[in-house]
Symmetry: C2
Subunit: 273 residues, 2 copies
DNA sequence: CCAGGACTTTGATCTCGATCAAATTTTTTC
DNA sequence: GAAAAAATTTGATCGAGATCAAAGTCCTGG
């Protein structure tokens, strides 16, 4: 269950770990600035503030399967995924579990970088991934100077907090069948209420995120064929939404719609750090 | 397991539910202002801001066992417990679980009141409890005017977020024996590293917080006698700290010291809302 | 296009923790 | 201070989900 052979990386600054022949701690591409600017976190700050923040930031490209953050390390940067995807996971006593998967364009480990505290979660790339690194010190200086940015940070952190609480509620109040069923419905909603869609990440990650083993997820998905879902590989086909809904009992206070709106770019929500 | 006969209370404003012959939506006592002022959240704001916020706030006294917040209701107030204690719990499909117990002096449901969103958790008094209600609208107006307060809110929310993440990590990575053992050690640290201390809340609440049944907690505590803890009612006696530590494998990134410093007044940490 | 590795599925078995039931202790109430 | 209610403990049993093992499938890199 635990991937071994971890390539250790003290801090993202350690450019030697990044890929490519060109030195990868590089400047941002002009086309990615607007995407970042559109994030809730950066949307309301002044243009000057935004530009200042971006000026002190830089991009890095990482190959697949690279550990980019090790839990316990000092949080020196806010991370923004602009390409690829990142798994946030927690480790303890030789065990590990997936806490979230972050997809473009969204930020992660905001909380740690704001508190100038050690990361609580580790992170690894799931594919070739490009990340913007915003120095935590600049971030902290900025929300003291730009009130609208401070408000955005407050709003974002509150949303992240609520997202983890939702996730904790689901873990504590639902059994695994119910968690799977409601996860499938939630993803359907994210896909615009689609009756058929493809799982956004590997099943092993979904299993770990939902607090179960891959074997158990596999069996549960099979069992759910009696309750209105059919799987075809990574494809989900909802054959009887009403039946599935009866089983999952989706709850606004656990499954959204807030949770969906909040989880901007995060498949397994709650990526504040 | 589920307390029935809930007295429903739409909002804390509904004074009719509060106790006492004197109308309980009353002004604050002078002696409680300094205690509130000392909270991290209010420590750094200007005196003027603090006074303005307190001027629009009011106190209410609740009897034991009263539901003061129902999850899903609009979050109109930040709550501050100044006397007694409050259980935060979550409900779904007829089940419920304890998310935190808040004790004086500390705030709860900060996140919900800031987002102007529905409460994700319910709250009930565990004893006779006095609560200060700070209107959420005033709160939101205030951090736009007082930068230091905004910074405090940011810092507080980040701490709350991290606190829930810690709790989620513990739930997902540890089995129940490990959760109990590390809980006991954490409480010992909160008691200044004491070898003997009294559990701060009832065992059924600890059980629910730790994601297990009271029966299982009882049995686990009994089993732990072989691992360096002895129980005498609600009294914990650590007979072999080393042995217990070996079992619990306490981790800075789950059990503190941050987690302890953060959980100011909250026995089962993570009381942002 | 083939080989190797990772992911997924299926089957068999086991175990941790839940559930049910009842006794006992503690706390509250009248 | 006795009766009642709540909390805790203990015992017996059950079952959801984990673990172990192996086969099958998908993906990837040479």
């Amino acid at each position: 269950m635990f991937s071994e052979g971890l390539i250790l990386l003290r801090a993202p600054l350690d450019v030697s770990q990044a890929e490519g022949s060109h030195l990868s701690g590089s400047t941002l591409r002009p086309e990615e600035l607007p995407e970042i600017r559109h994030l809730h976190l950066f949307r309301d700050m002044t243009q000057a503030s935004f530009e200042a923040l971006m000026a002190s930031s830089y991009a890095q490209n990482f190959p697949q399967g690279l550990d980019i953050i090790r839990q316990g390390d000092p949080a020196d940067f806010l991370h923004i995924v602009v390409e690829g995807s990142v798994e946030l996971f927690a480790q303890w006593s030789g065990r590990e579990c997936t806490m979230a998967v972050v997809q473009p364009v969204s930020t992660f480990i905001l909380a740690a970088s704001i508190r100038d505290a050690p990361y609580l979660m580790s992170a690894r790339t799931l594919e070739r991934t490009r990340i913007i690194l915003v120095p935590a010190a600049d971030l902290r200086a900025m929300f003291r100077r730009d009130t609208e940015f401070a408000v955005s940070v407050i709003t974002e952190l509150a949303a992240c907090y609520r997202s983890v609480v939702r996730s904790a509620k689901s873990l504590k109040l639902r059994n695994s069948r119910e968690r799977v069923a409601s996860y499938l419905l939630r993803q359907s909603m994210l896909a615009g209420g689609a009756t058929s869609y493809t799982l956004p990440v590997e099943k092993r990650l979904i299993a770990s995120y939902l607090g179960m083993t891959p074997e158990n997820l596999s069996r549960t998905l099979r069992m759910l064929e009696a309750d209105g879902v059919k799987m075809d590989g990574a494809r989900v086909i909802i054959t009887d939404r009403e039946k599935l809904t009866t089983l999952a009992q989706p709850d606004k206070l656990i499954d959204g719609p807030d949770a969906i709106a909040d989880a901007n770019g995060s498949d397994l929500p709650g990526a504040s750090g």
